[in-house]
Each structure stands twice: as structure tokens, then as C-alpha cells.
């Protein structure tokens, strides 16, 4: 950086160029080093989870430092798959988690898209208050609503039902979804829709055939966001499900924190089962998701 300030000799153009080149190469090496460090730092917890899941108990419960398992075993994976936990197969919990997460995503996407369209396409009374409401809702920790929500869910006859969890997850992720989607809807030129109207399309057809395809990337971003939230939600699943056949994965994992010490191998195997599909999916849609999520959030 100091080199920048040194005035270059008038006749030393080649020397300066060489110096610049060398500095750029050094700079790139530095950037790569930092990049590698960030990579290792960010990936390490996930790596440690997977490697613990594949270690033998001898290598897990030891005071020796074993960065890479020298013996790989699928015992933990096998054990949680065959024995299950809390009286059910692990697939029951995976299925429940999948139902809750996908249900949240589908219902949430439809509702968010409808609301976001209304906000950016109609001028109506209460529009601003609705926007403020969305922002305020973001400021309330879900844990503060445990008891009232518990009562509401019971009142609606949704206690011990996955639908109850879906409704709550949708309600909690919806404000953020609407807030982000509205910028995507607003970015679609209104003239496109007007052209469709002139051609005689109904409002719904316009929405479905014109607006929807253009907003789809934003929808992907918000959907992934709510998927992650619902997939990992613990507290509500814990109190709204009394029958173990209705537990989701995060709840089931809690059973490995036993009184006779924690079964880290099993926990990490279960966590790996839960996490790897999401990580792989994230990497696949990475580009679209990041641009979508960020564009929505930042322009807000």
C-alpha cells in the first residue's frame, strides 16, 4: 500500500510495470491464502460433524487429537437407521421434517406471492400499516409466543398434528418472505401486465402467466429461506407434538443427549443426515439463491 504513494521515476516505466506485476502476483497469493483460511474456517464445523459420525467410539471418546479418522465406520449411521430413537425409525422423523418443511414452503410461497403482489400492485387503505406490521413482527422472538400459540393451536384442533407446525412456521416466515418478494414484484414492469389485460387476460391469468415466471427467482430465494427455518425448527416441534411418531428430526436428535452421557456419534450421524441434503441443495442453487436473497433484502 505504501508503494502506491511512491512517485514513479519518469523514465522508469518498465521498472514500474515490473514492480506492479510482482505486487499483483504477491497480492493474489495473499488473497488466495486468506481465501483458503476462510474456506477451512467456514467448512470446519460441518467437516467435524461428518468425521465424528464416521469415527469409531474409540476414536470419538479419546483424549487423543485425531483430525482425520484413521478407521472409518458406518456403525453410528447403521445404528440410528436400524434401532431408531424414541420408539420410531429415523425415517419417520425425516418424513415428518420433510412434510413440515415442504408444507411450509408451498403454503408460504403462495401466500407471500399473493400478498407481495397486492402490496406492490394495488394502492389500498392500510397498505402502509401492513408494511409496518411486517417489520414489527420481525422483532418478536418466536419463543415469546410459545404459550399463546400453544393455546391457539389446541383451540384450532391442530395439537399433535403436523399441520399445526406448518401453520406456525408459515406464520413466522411469512413476514420476511413478503418483505423480500415485494421488491421482486415491484421490479417487473407494469406495462407487461397491462399488455396482457388489453389482450383480454383476467387478473389471475396475468398473475399466473406474466408475473409469476418473472418473480420465480425471488420465490426460490424466499422458499429456501423458509425451508431452512422449518427444517431446523425445534421449540415448537418440541411442545406441539406429544406423540413421538409426530416428532421432527431436531426433536428426535435431542434424545441422544442422554443421562448416561451424550452419544456424540449418533448425534453427529443424525445431524449429518439432516444437514447434508440441505448443504448439497444449497451449493446447487447457490448462485440464484444468493443473488435473489440479497437483492431482496438489500433493496428493501
Amino acid at each position: 500500500m505504501t508503494a502506491l504513494k511512491t512517485p514513479a521515476p519518469l523514465d522508469g516505466r518498465t521498472a514500474q510495470a515490473r514492480r506492479l506485476k510482482r505486487r499483483r502476483r504477491l497480492g493474489r497469493a495473499g488473497l488466495n491464502t486468506v481465501g483458503v483460511l476462510v474456506f477451512l474456517f467456514a467448512v470446519f464445523p460441518v467437516y467435524w460433524m461428518v468425521s465424528t459420525a464416521l469415527k469409531t467410539n474409540d476414536q470419538i471418546f479419546t483424549t487423543d487429537f485425531i483430525p482425520i479418522p484413521t478407521e472409518i465406520t458406518f456403525d453410528h449411521v447403521d445404528r440410528i437407521l436400524t434401532e431408531g430413537v424414541a420408539g420410531n425409525s429415523i425415517w419417520v422423523y425425516m418424513r415428518n421434517s420433510t412434510i413440515v418443511a415442504l408444507g411450509t414452503v408451498l403454503i408460504g410461497a403462495v401466500l407471500a406471492l399473493l400478498a407481495a403482489t397486492a402490496i406492490s400492485r394495488f394502492r389500498f387503505r392500510g397498505r402502509t400499516s401492513f408494511l409496518v406490521l411486517l417489520l414489527i413482527v420481525q422483532m418478536i422472538p418466536a419463543e415469546a409466543l410459545l404459550i399463546p400459540l400453544f393455546l391457539n393451536v389446541k383451540r384450532l384442533g391442530l395439537y399433535d398434528q403436523l399441520l399445526g407446525l406448518i401453520v406456525i412456521n408459515v406464520g413466522l416466515t411469512l413476514p420476511f418472505g413478503i418483505w423480500m418478494l415485494r421488491t421482486f414484484v415491484a421490479a417487473v414492469p407494469k406495462s407487461l401486465e397491462e399488455a396482457a389485460w388489453i389482450d383480454g387476460a383476467s387478473r389471475f391469468t396475468t398473475f399466473w402467466k406474466v408475473l409469476f415466471p418473472l418473480v420465480a427467482p425471488g420465490l426460490v430465494a424466499t422458499s429456501i429461506f423458509s425451508f431452512i427455518t422449518a427444517w431446523n425448527e425445534l421449540i415448537f416441534a418440541l411442545i406441539l407434538m406429544s406423540d413421538s411418531s409426530g416428532y421432527t428430526m431436531p426433536v428426535a436428535l435431542q434424545f441422544f443427549f442422554g443421562q448416561r452421557g451424550t452419544d456424540w456419534g449418533a448425534i453427529m450421524a443424525g445431524s449429518t443426515m439432516m444437514t447434508i441434503p440441505v448443504v448439497v441443495f444449497f451449493l446447487l442453487v447457490q448462485r440464484r439463491m444468493v443473488s435473489g436473497l440479497v437483492a431482496g433484502a438489500v433493496k428493501g
Binding site: M1, L31, N32, G35, V36, V38, F39, A42, V43, P45, V46, M49, I60, F61, F65, L111, A118, F122, F124, I136, V137, Q138, M139, I140, A142, E143, A144, L145, L146, I147, P148, L149, N152, G171, L172, L174, P175, W197, S202, R203, I228, W231, L234, I235, P250, L253, I267, M268, S271, M274, V278, V279, F281, F282, L283, Q286, L293, V294, A297, V298
Partner: protein
């Protein structure tokens, strides 16, 4: 809808309702109504088993404020927000700057940063709890390996069981999980800055540091404000990290207001509701202060 024969005005007035109604109804049932109940319960006397025993006036609040741990919890919550958000934003600024450069390994580093995000807050907290296990956890192993264990509390150093070390570790994990979103938000802000601004700065002979301070940062401000705001709300209300790793223990030494509220629920629901109200009030105050300080209206709109 436009072609129906019913009086057009009524239809047009009700049209937004059809679109927005379902979302409003759901938010009302899941958030607004529970909030009303929460505020109401903070003025009620409620038994441990949830039976309402009549009005309690402000007694829940006076009881809450008189809790010996209340002051500490509130101070800790503030410290928690300031520390986590401050560190997250500072580090994210650096990371975003790094990822904005072109270098061969950039793609992989960018991918890697998604990992903590995808692995979720809860999972990451559980993994760190495992790494911090006092007996067979990775952190103590490394310390033992380096011969540092004795210096850091002897053979059974328990990073999460010790009030002095538990909080810094929680802050570390919270920063770790907040970095991806913040970095990507700032990265988007950076890429929105037109390159010719930098060109102009170079023409004027500005140093890199000077360019960053006087050109990049001001242009980055809208993204910075939004990213910080989202972080403030999320971090203040963050429950899973602390709950999964320490349950607010030892004592109440790692309990923030959200955790304290959850703990109170076990003994006195009315008092817990009062804590929720105080908690909510605090987030609003924090948000308003932040928005005032950052003059976000002028920036964003």
C-alpha cells in the same frame, strides 16, 4: 374479477383483500393474537399449571424488576447484541471486500461460506458444543496438544461450564452463523457500486485506504444499514445458540433476555410474559435508536 357484473366499485375495493387476506389472517393467528395474549398475561396472575387466577396489576413487572438477576440479564443482552453485531459487521466488511477481488480460489471460499448458513444455527451450535466438550472435545484436545491446558484452567477446563469463558464462546458461535448472510448482503452492495467511481478516485490520486473510507463505505451504506438492522433483530432474539450450548448456565451467567424469559416460564408464566413485553420494548428501542443514528430514511429512499 374485473369482468364480473357486480358493482365495480365494491369489487375493486375488496380486491386487495382477496390477495392479502390469507396472509393477514395467518399472521394474525400466529403472531398478532399471541402478542395480545402475551401482553394481557403480563398483567394476570397465572398458576404454574396455566390456570388464570385473576388480575395481578403491575405485580409481575415489579417481581421481574426485583429479580436479583434482572439487571445482569438486561446488561448482558445489550452487550450480546453490540458484541455480536459489531464483530459480525466488521468481519463481514473484510470478507465482502475479499470476495469482491478476483482470485482463483474465490469461488471455493464463497461456496464454503454457505456451509454455516446451510447447516443452520441449531446444528452449528450442537457441533460447537461437541467441540467444546470438557473431556473429549476438540478444543481441549488441541489445548492439551499444545501444552496450553494447564494455563487455561487445568485438566478439566470446561469452556462452556465456566462463566468467564462461556459467553465469549457463545459470541464466537453467533458471529460465525451470522457471517454468511451479512457478508453476502454487503457483497451485493459492493457489486452495485459502479467501477468508474473507483476510477475517478484513482485519477485523483487517492490511496486505497482513503478510497475505501471516502468512496466505498458511503456508497455501501444502504446495504450496511439493512444488514445491520436484520442482524440486530435476529441476534437480540437469538435463542437456539444459547439454549443449545449452555441453557443460560452456569447460574444465569449466559442468559440473555430471551433465554431468561424462557426459563421464567417454568416457574411463573405471568412474570415470563412481563419479560417478553420488556424484551419486545427493548428491541423496538434498539431499532429506533439504530435507525436514528444511521439516518436510514435518507439513505434507503
Amino acid at each position: 374479477m374485473q369482468q364480473t357484473f357486480t358493482p365495480g366499485r365494491v369489487v375493486r375495493a375488496l380486491a386487495p383483500l382477496a390477495w392479502i387476506g390469507p396472509a393477514v389472517a395467518l399472521i394474525a393467528v400466529v403472531v398478532v393474537w399471541p402478542v395480545v395474549v402475551m401482553v394481557q398475561s403480563s398483567f394476570l396472575k397465572i398458576s404454574r399449571f396455566g390456570v388464570v387466577q385473576g388480575s395481578n396489576g403491575f405485580d409481575n413487572y415489579t417481581k421481574l424488576f426485583a429479580e436479583p438477576d434482572f439487571g445482569g440479564v438486561m446488561a448482558r443482552s445489550l452487550l450480546w447484541v453490540v458484541a455480536v453485531v459489531g464483530l459480525t459487521v466488521t468481519l463481514s466488511l473484510g470478507l465482502a471486500q475479499l470476495f469482491d477481488q478476483r482470485f482463483p480460489g474465490r469461488r471455493f471460499a464463497r461456496w464454503a461460506l454457505i456451509a454455516p448458513w446451510a447447516a443452520s444455527v441449531l446444528m452449528t451450535s450442537i457441533i460447537f458444543k461437541w467441540m467444546l466438550d470438557p473431556e473429549v472435545g476438540l478444543i481441549n484436545m488441541i489445548r492439551r496438544h499444545l501444552g496450553l491446558l494447564d494455563a487455561l484452567g487445568g485438566a478439566d477446563a470446561d469452556p462452556l461450564g465456566n462463566a468467564a469463558t462461556a459467553m465469549p464462546w457463545l459470541v464466537f458461535v453467533a458471529v460465525f452463523v451470522s457471517l454468511p448472510f451479512t457478508t453476502y448482503a454487503l457483497l451485493a452492495g459492493l457489486s452495485a457500486i459502479p467501477p468508474d467511481v473507483y476510477e475517478a478516485a484513482r485519477m485523483d490520486g487517492a490511496s486505497r485506504l482513503r478510497t475505501y473510507w471516502s468512496v466505498t463505505l458511503p456508497l455501501l451504506r444502504p446495504a450496511l444499514v439493512v444488514a445491520t438492522l436484520i442482524n440486530v433483530m435476529n441476534v437480540f432474539n437469538s435463542f437456539p445458540i444459547i439454549w443449545a450450548m449452555t441453557h443460560g448456565q452456569p447460574g444465569y451467567s449466559t442468559a440473555t433476555s430471551t433465554v431468561f424469559m424462557y426459563i421464567l416460564k417454568g416457574s411463573d408464566i405471568g412474570e415470563s410474559a412481563a419479560m417478553s413485553v420488556v424484551n419486545f420494548g427493548m428491541v423496538i428501542v434498539l431499532t429506533i435508536v439504530f435507525l436514528r443514528v444511521s439516518k436510514w430514511r435518507a439513505e434507503v429512499s
